[in-house]
């Protein structure tokens, strides 16, 4: 179910700008979906939108209050309940991507049900899915894969969608995680789907489309992450990608959360992803590399991208520094 736009972004009591990164992502990638932001007194984040109370937001056309802040633990804070409850009174739906559910807060679920409003807990899929069929489908699909979790796959996918739009091509970002779903308003949190249906959920998320339509599917995890590789493999098979983009963060010293696990070599990771992808799309190819060089200075970043291009004979970009046009050129 689609989250109704436009949104009022709730920044709550964000401890710092990083705590409001979901809200910032929405502002960065879907600015037209945002009418304003609502902060509590002790908020230390600012997404640069007009600060609004609930009434002002409703007057400005807001349909949904989106919780764009995460506190420690990623749960709904008791300090937020009053304003969330008032948002329902004003006729707003509420959307959140937190570990616990809005629907499990009685005062909110009772009120939403009475008023005919919707609580979107995007981390907790409510749909049922079919088992994947593996049947080839029309349309073009791109899937970023990574050497690790949290290395830039969502950012890369959103940048590719934008670059495709800039070229006047039909393209949709297909979200597979809670932040992506809040940014684009719909999708499936594949890591929360029952494991028999990972690939089936992905097939339904990016269905058959016109031959010149591009789905850019948000990647998840890594085939080399011992905790989550099953999700990644099911996602690759369900996506039937025509093009894979290998995402990598060059300064990471071990797999996220697992100090005992070194990062895989980029070549191994590309080979594993391609081997998996050709099962459901024999024409799958690696389009290039997307490197998150945030931790490097400009000179080191350029040098690294150049070196990787020579080493792998593939275009290498940083979506933030260089854009992704080089990747698209390899695909179009």
């Amino acid at each position: 179910m689609r989250i109704k736009a436009p949104y009022l972004l709730f920044l709550g009591d964000a401890a710092d700008p990083l705590a409001a990164k979901v809200a910032q992502g929405i502002v960065d990638w879907r600015p037209d979906n945002c009418v304003g932001q609502l902060s509590l007194d002790n908020c230390n984040a600012d997404c640069g939108l007009k600060e609004m109370d609930l009434s002002e937001a409703v007057s400005a056309g807001a349909q949904t209050l989106v919780i764009g802040v995460a506190n420690r633990g990623g749960v709904i804070s008791p300090d937020w309940i009053e304003v969330l409850s008032q948002a329902l009174d004003k006729g707003l739906d509420i959307a959140a991507g937190l570990h616990n559910k809005l629907a499990d807060v009685d005062v909110l679920s009772d009120k939403a049900s009475k008023l005919g409003l919707t609580l979107h807990d995007v981390r907790h899929p409510t749909q049922t899915f079919n088992v994947a069929t593996g049947e080839p489908r029309s349309g073009k699909r791109i899937l970023p894969v990574g050497t690790d979790c949290s290395c830039g796959k969502m950012y890369t996918a959103l940048a590719l969608e934008k670059a495709l739009h800039n070229k006047g091509l039909a393209a949709d970002f297909r979200a597979t995680g809670q932040t992506g779903i809040l940014i684009c308003g719909e999708g499936v949190s594949v890591d929360a789907v029952v494991s028999d249906f990972i690939s089936g959920a992905t097939e339904s998320l990016a269905p058959a489309a016109a031959d010149d339509h591009w789905d850019v599917i948000e990647g998840q995890g890594s085939l080399y992450h011992p905790s989550f590789a099953g999700v990644t493999l099911g996602l690759i098979h369900g996506a039937q990608p025509d093009y894979l983009v290998l995402c990598h963060e060059p300064t990471r010293t071990h797999m996220r959360g697992l100090p005992g696990y070194a990062l895989p070599a980029i070549d191994d990771c590309m080979q594993a992803a391609l081997s998996a992808a050709i099962l459901t799309n024999p024409n799958a190819k690696i389009a290039g590399l997307s490197i998150n060089t945030k931790a490097l200075d400009e000179a080191k970043a350029s040098q690294l991208l150049e070196q990787l291009e020579q080493q792998h004979q593939l275009p290498a970009v940083d979506p933030f520094r260089t854009g992704v046009d080089k990747l698209l050129d390899a695909m179009l």
Copy 2:
């Protein structure tokens, strides 16, 4: 939670012997857990146990009525409810591995709750699991993997457990699917676990053990099955197997349920499984091949096993025809 033994096996209105294959599996692998069988009038299966009514079964010590029959669709038949309800009246728990839940049949769940009895819906895990840590753990573990689904992985695992016991070694079969759970009385249906926790559930299913203890973990799916490969990969990573056994059914013409997908080559399948396994256990090895030759005559079966041994330079067995001692010899 462990299913309390011994069992009365409910054969219901089984249309043919194949419909009672769960009951037959329990009789074959855990005969000491069975006190008798209970058939309805129109039952066309017989597991060779003493036919008993509920009172006789209770007198013989039965603790749980296990539904060992599957009708079309694999759901609870309305025709069974009366006898299931009477079983609760007699003080028996009930266990089933069906698509729908005993717990969702009001007359059964109300009665079980009133009488303090347990309804085991083994296809639907109720535990919560941690994300996998990938931390090396003590003890020995064996995992069968397959070129396809339903090609003999459970049978191979149970045969290996039995062979280890015959040699006086400590070993446990660890069930990962509903039939396996009903056979051994506990386990986790990993394909029904939320996908983020496939590997974590497997780690908890086969935890650290004594150095000379063997866990034989039931395999699931295939890395080459486009619908279920994510489950298989998560299972391999969580299992940290010391030894993999490649299971194969040589007469199959396509992947189960998917006429458009050919079976993978045995070599490719072994290489993919080994590549996956060494991520969490760098010492993982392929112990050999387990071939389900049921569709071949004795001469052809022997010839095939010999040919595969020469081709792959690994022991090849059919657990039913030859036993699995050759595989164990390669491991011990």
